[in-house]
Amino acid sequence: MKTIDACGVSCPEPLLMLQNALKTEKEILLLTDSKNALDNCEKYAKKKGLSVNTTTDADKYKMHISVAK
């Protein structure tokens, strides 16, 4: 599983990081501290039919994305 640390990077870089990682990875853990980035990435992953599971830890969101349903 690949971990992407997208904390603190400006829009639209978190989504670009996710998009690029999905080219090779089947399972990704994306970390972000931005609700905006989280919403964008969740929408994108759901639109692609991926399984998404998000948990909140302190001020960080941990988004687990996998290709398998």
Binding site: D5, V9, S10, C11, P12, L16, Q19, D33, N36, D59
Partner: protein
Amino acid sequence: MAEKIKMPLIGGLVAVISIALVLLGNPPNMGFCIACFLRDIAGAVGLHHAAPVQYVRPEIIGIIFGAFIFSLANKEFASKGGSAPVTRFVLGFALMIGALIFLGCPLRMALRIAGGDLNAVVGLFGFAAGILGGVFFLNKGYTLKRTYGVSKTDGFVLPAGAFILLWLLLLVPSVLFFSTEGPGSMHAPILAALIAGLIMGVIGVITRLCFVAGIRDSILFKNFSMMSAFIALIAVGIIGNLMLGGFHLGFENQPVAHTDGLWNFLGMMLVGLCAVLLGGCPFRQLILAGSGSSDSVVTVFGMIAGAAFAHNFKMASSAAGVTTNGKIGFAIAFIIVVLIAVYNTFIKRKAGESI
């Protein structure tokens, strides 16, 4: 599905508010213009002395208040900064040079198109070209690195400054400069402008409305949500202007505009490029600045400084056209922006270095 309806509705609402502000006294096709309004504020506090463009625009104060209060209320407010602030200042500065060569920010460009100003359609092509340039760098790994948590006071500075500015406008206007003729002399009543700004501030936080994201996200992610708001804004604007007699199709005699196609294109190209490199258009920067991003506050300061320099050094266009200094200023700004983009895309990465 809700998103598909929500964003066009928001775009339409922005058009309605903008047209209402023009009816209440703002200059034609300038219900909102973040670049012009920051320029007017720069003039009002004496940072430049271009007599026709000096006024404290309550819309800007309202946007900052709206974003500040609403982001605090829904717990999105976060004092953060440290992602290349000085570089952002320079990008904001350069963006303003481009905007004042064209005469408008992306929002006013849309409002100008809605008023039938075909010069703004030329600007739109330039804007799209600039965004394509920015997307090229983003795809190659452009980044200004991370922001980090900073002292809460950093996030309160801009709203406090906006409050002081409003206080001066209402109670001590004698210390400010006000236009007696030209665009700066045309304005909606203070309360109406303030309320319009507040609404826009709240809209900005809820929807993350951004006028560069429409084209950018359509290209990058095939996401047309923001684009639908942008198109609805223009469509509703055209209908509203047609109904109220504010629609005049053509290139000539457009309000607060010039007909130099090449420079309308190039001015907005610089705006598009800078906005992508900054991660959002001038409106979005104001919203982020009100929501605690000190990097965006620095960007707004860069835009204000850029506006002051644009007028002090006679780089800003007028209805008479583009100035020689404006062309030189554009060339310098464009080279600096490309160098920033190239450096932060290709040069900074050593082997193994991450963001």
